[in-house]
Symmetry: C2
Amino acid sequence: MTDPRGRPSAPTMRDVAGAAGVSTALVSIVFRGVPGASDETRARVLAVAKELGYVPNRTASMMKRSRTRHLGVAMNVRNAFHGEMVEGIQAAAQDAGYEIVLSGITQSHPELRAVETLTEFRCESLILLGCDLSTSELRVVSKRVPVVLIGRRVRLDAVDIVRSADHRGMALLVDHLVGLGHTAIAHVDGGDHPIAAERGRGYRAAMRRHGLAPVARVQAGGGTEQDGQRAAARLLALDVLPTAVSAFNDHCALGIIDALTKAGVRVPEDCSVTGYDNSSFAELATVNLTTVSQEASVLAETAVRTAIARIENPDADPTDTVLQPRLMVRGSSGPARADQVGADQGVRRSISKV
Amino acid sequence: MTDPRGRPSAPTMRDVAGAAGVSTALVSIVFRGVPGASDETRARVLAVAKELGYVPNRTASMMKRSRTRHLGVAMNVRNAFHGEMVEGIQAAAQDAGYEIVLSGITQSHPELRAVETLTEFRCESLILLGCDLSTSELRVVSKRVPVVLIGRRVRLDAVDIVRSADHRGMALLVDHLVGLGHTAIAHVDGGDHPIAAERGRGYRAAMRRHGLAPVARVQAGGGTEQDGQRAAARLLALDVLPTAVSAFNDHCALGIIDALTKAGVRVPEDCSVTGYDNSSFAELATVNLTTVSQEASVLAETAVRTAIARIENPDADPTDTVLQPRLMVRGSSGPARADQVGADQGVRRSISKV
DNA sequence: CACCTCATCTAGAACGTTATAGTAGAACGA
DNA sequence: TCGTTCTACTATAACGTTCTAGATGAGGTG
């Protein structure tokens, strides 16, 4: 009962069984809550276990059990929208009797490692938020465990998709900006992220539809405030600053607004900036960001439902659930300045160099 | 080789051993990279394993091994500061050869459940961010597994503390506001959160030191934007609005600023608002929040170091590492309006009812 | 030649659960 | 009396590793 370092090692079912005068099998029955024990014995076992401080060893259980009822979720811990979705996923999973295992994607812990960890914990399905993996990496992963991708497309068996129509979301934003008189509308993309590619295509298509293809401009960006700041710095270095910038997501938009403001460019008077996701902070007075809403709770709930459906029927055809995004007009976008419309299509350099 | 749902089950060491014509023990030796196999055999085993697509089963390995090299982290997925710390923890753990298991604290998944999950996964130590548990709950948990508490105090064996001096941080904020001429400084606390109590005490002590105890006012709040909004609504309902509000944390401050702004109260002209944590968003131009910095990366690194030290030496005395916070003066705090100083010590109701 | 050492390998018992197959005994009917 | 059918329980074999305690044979030493 002691480990190599002298600390008494955790009590096991054997200890509980011994102390309660029953077999380990009976203890297992009690802890799994399955029929096969009298109420009296059940209570006694539970009491003894509590007294000994017994906690079931999930690793041992997972090894033996065919089903773990674990759902693995890979998330970016710095992304507010991911946080909102995890909250929803947690709630939905709970209702369905599943437990969530989280793995964080950070600089030092790439998504592939996160997925590996979740696989090792024997999750029955993986829900990947804003997945960055290549199709071939996903193919390998999805051979071992069913995958639900949130927000991104891919054509693979055993990979279900839950996303909102990014193409349409970008169209809503560009239409909105064009409606405000903007023509020099730039897009700061999300780097080599697959979702970024989809939003980039949506932007280009919308610009083309308005006959603005010639002034379309995609600036390399990313999903963080720092990415937005860097992208804005490069836009500021141009001869003419666009009158509107649509960012890959809300975090990126915040970074852009920050860099523009600090360079003396007023938002939205000199330059409108839009985000994507309608993160919880977007509606705050200080942020007040025009963006596209993709109901986190609906995405979350749908993802959990999809994951469970696939677990129950592994051979079903892969699904692709598309939700409709909604434009959220707020204060970070405004009319293009009269002197800019149809003129040189941008804020003159002098303004951005205060 | 097939599981109940027809999906071919993963190959095991037995399969590899059989195919390579060696024993499972030898395969284990090869995969752990320990001496005991010739280079030739090593290469053959590895080749066969790759061909079969063999991946070692970590749950089985963890069960047999005494050490899991897992560190459990309980976090609030909606808290940006927690996200920053997790990023740092992940990196530090990686360097030390530990893996991080995350458990999210949400509405539907209380901290005690999160801690339980981490314990069941046999984490060797738990790092709790902004822990909310009662002392007696913590005592029970810490009997089973060593705990590192971030940000909060508690006197228990086997519980190490890493925190910054909240008392001093609040003093810095109040001193700063008093220096700007404020006297009617309210505090929106963090609810029944233990960290909140400490900050509340810090606020009261600082007010007392400035002879402002009579005008000190603590308003019930919480750690989210919504909590801040609700608290601000209650402040707005007062006869006289304080000229400055110090919030429990940055999220709460954001909510307060939002509600004040939407009620027509200008920040900081009519009312200064300060936060706590120096979350990454605080420095953005749109937010521009005066706050107190508690270096997330340093807290994270220290916590991991502390956790590992305790794993290696379980009988050491509990440690209490206190880091010094730093005041970050930004645009959300400004001088008290001349007509308010020494007068009725607050913004008159008319202003707050635009 | 007998004896030792060393590298390489293997058998088999754990680890803490779960699940299958079964037993003991009570209650019931015929 | 002898089944039969319950309920409440137990024995024990997995699960896929790790690890201890050997076994085997090659090479070196006196």
